[in-house]
């Protein structure tokens, strides 16, 4: 057996316990490196605001307030009716949530309360796959399948092939997995003891899941819906492909009509070529930043609200 000496003098000095300075310096440097990586995320936030503000303010100086109240959004003609974009965004998001809420919550309740482990293992990947579908693919689907086979079939061939409704349904399908996943997490977090207490009182599964677990998870479910709305508002490509209107759009509340949302107004400005001269054209490109600022502020508010609901769930359990 190898003889290994033990170093344990009877009296030590502080210097003995001072450790290796080299090791400590290395630790400090590494800590700073990691801190910088984390700090970079704050830098990104700052950069977003900086990027938006500059030209957004410039836009506001270039336009007359009356232009913002125009009845349509035709940036190259000087019509900057922001209400048009807000209406378009609202319609698409509303239809999207009409699709995503029942589908998402239904799937969440089923997966969390009813599905057997084997079923869960096959069904969850399906939802995850749906979540992985790129938005351009969904846009293609919305234009070539949802629009002719659903919208036009229901409302007649006279309606436009491009419609906010078709886009809305497409966005809804994209948002469903997000709603389902957050809602399911919320319901999963409800402690078993709560369910068992209800069963112990003789309640059936439907009653338990709908009237005990669901209300208990309500904060998380509300968070899921808010996050869904936020994602729907921020969706670009599905609407760009399926809702048409690259040059601009009139104010409309008709979902069967083509239209623009805040996001597609931005993408149109980005890819369009400026052909018209004059003062209005100068304001066209900067309007991109103004709309971006409004969009950013809106989603930030929604996400902050959603986070507050998520924190309520965490505190409870």
């Amino acid at each position: 057996m190898a003889q290994v000496a033990i170093a344990a003098p009877k009296r030590l000095t502080a210097a003995d316990l001072a450790g290796s300075a080299r090791r400590r310096r290395k630790e400090r440097a590494i800590r700073i490196a990691f801190l910088s990586a984390a700090g970079f995320s704050i830098l990104v936030s700052a950069l977003i605001v900086v990027s938006l503000l500059g030209k957004a303010v410039q836009f506001l100086t270039l336009v007359h307030p009356a232009q913002l109240l125009a009845g349509g959004w035709f940036p190259r003609q000087g019509d900057f009716g922001i209400s048009t974009l807000l209406a378009g965004t609202l319609i698409v998001s509303a239809i999207a949530m009409l699709v995503a809420t029942p589908l998402g919550l239904g799937a969440a309740i089923y997966l969390s309360e009813y599905a057997r482990p084997r079923a869960r293992r096959t069904l969850k990947p399906i939802l995850e796959t749906l979540a992985g579908v790129p938005s351009v693919v969904m846009g293609f689907f919305a234009l070539n399948v949802i629009s002719p086979r659903l919208i036009q079939a229901l409302f007649g061939r006279a309606t436009s092939i491009f419609s906010l409704a078709a886009a809305g349904i497409g966005v809804g399908i994209l948002v469903t997995p997000l709603v389902a996943s957050v809602a399911e997490d919320a319901m999963f977090a409800v402690p078993r003891t709560l369910r068992e207490a209800a069963y112990g009182l003789g309640a059936k599964k439907r009653v338990t899941s709908l009237r005990v677990v669901f209300p208990a998870a309500i904060s998380g479910i509300v968070a899921a819906l808010i996050l869904g709305v936020s994602r729907a508002i921020g969706e670009t490509m599905v609407v760009a492909i399926a809702a048409g209107a690259t040059g601009g759009a009139l104010f409309t509340l008709n979902p069967l009509h083509y239209g623009q949302t805040m996001t597609t107004a931005m993408s149109s400005l980005a890819i369009g070529s400026d052909a018209v001269g004059g003062n209005s054209a100068a304001a066209a490109f900067p309007s991109l930043f103004f709309v971006g600022l409004v969009l950013f502020a809106l989603t930030l508010l929604l996400n902050a609200a959603a986070n507050r609901f998520v924190r309520r769930v965490r505190r409870r359990y």
């Binding site: 800590r31 950069l47 029942p102 992985g132 969904m138 359990y317």
Partner: protein
């Protein structure tokens, strides 16, 4: 008797749903058994609708796109874009997407994992650090097109000497910023899943924090981090909107700048951008072409996702 401690803790007070009502209602009728099944079927239907949509979507794409691929074969993958559908191919899209992916990998993974390590291993629960976490969560919810604006102002204009302006480098950096919050969140989850007992054991034998992280925490969390990274890359592959603002071209290149190095230094595009471009073409022949391009894109994505799942299963059984 309902024990208040069981039901009182989590149930939000909604009138009519206290336990006794539940009991009374439930015990009242056998007809509720049918109701239970109906609800179960309804819920299952929602999942089936989701499945059905996926099937119809893939089916539609397959029906349109497979003939094109059969007809054109690998030629589809190796020819460049064109105004004529019968001559157009996705070569530039594939090259562009690959180049973008590499740049995203180089920037988003180290920064994201590094930030996650700081947040989970080093940061104390101070206001500053809670702010960092909230900030990351907010960034994850920002619409991707807004990141395009950041890319335009910062990478294309401000950092023009470094990136070259409207190049794939700007595009890649923009996408890296888009997926950065997701990398941070998934890596944080993977790190949190490492049991604290391992860290204590490490500290107990006189290891510094970095030594504990490097030798024990990161290896344990590696499968989760890796899987998260792959899924993030899959997301980056499919992104289009921000690229539109930083120079991804919809149109057609001059014959000169087409190759790998050409796209690196100059105008570029990506596979989803091509899909977007083609799907808005009035010429109906482009529709089937778009479907074929979608098949290529989905094939890439499915491979990436499958790789992630396989790797996750393999590493989960390691120790």
């Amino acid at each position: 008797m309902a024990r208040r401690s069981d039901l009182g803790s989590g149930v939000v007070a909604i009138p009519g749903t206290t336990a006794t009502h539940v009991v009374r209602a439930a015990l009242r009728g056998k007809r509720f058994r049918v109701g239970d099944y109906v609800v179960q079927i309804l819920l299952l239907m929602t999942l089936m609708i989701a499945l059905g949509v996926l099937v119809v979507l893939l089916g539609n794409v397959a029906i349109r796109g497979v003939p094109v691929l059969e007809q054109r074969g690998t030629n589809f993958l190796t020819t460049t874009n064109s105004t004529l559908p019968f001559l157009a191919g996705v070569k530039q899209g594939i090259i562009g997407s690959l180049e973008l992916l590499v740049i995203v990998l180089i920037f988003a993974i180290p920064l994201g994992v590094g930030a996650a390590v700081y947040l989970e291993e080093y940061a104390k629960d101070t206001r500053l650090n809670r702010l960092l976490v909230t900030n990351v969560r907010n960034l994850a919810g920002v619409p991707s097109i807004v990141y395009g604006i950041l890319g335009l102002i910062i990478f294309v204009e401000f950092l023009k000497p470094l990136t070259g302006g409207l190049t794939v480098i700007s595009g890649g950096l923009t996408l890296a910023v888009v997926v950065l919050p997701i990398v941070i969140i998934t890596s944080s989850e993977a790190l949190r899943a490492v049991p604290n007992s391992i860290r204590e054991a490490g500290f107990g034998v006189g290891a510094t924090r970095w030594e504990v992280i490097r030798s024990h925490v990161l290896p344990s969390a590696a499968p989760g981090i890796f899987t998260g990274a792959i899924l993030t890359l899959a997301r980056a592959i499919g992104e289009t909107a921000p690229l539109l603002l930083v120079g991804a071209l919809l149109g057609f290149f001059a014959p000169g700048n087409v190759g790998f190095w050409g796209q690196l230094r100059g105008p570029y595009t990506s596979l989803p951008t091509l899909i977007f471009s083609w799907s808005t073409q009035p010429n109906p022949d482009f529709r089937n072409l778009t479907a074929a391009a979608i098949i290529v894109l989905m094939a890439v994505l499915l491979t990436v996702n499958a790789a992630a799942i396989v790797l996750r299963n393999r590493y989960e059984r390691k120790w």
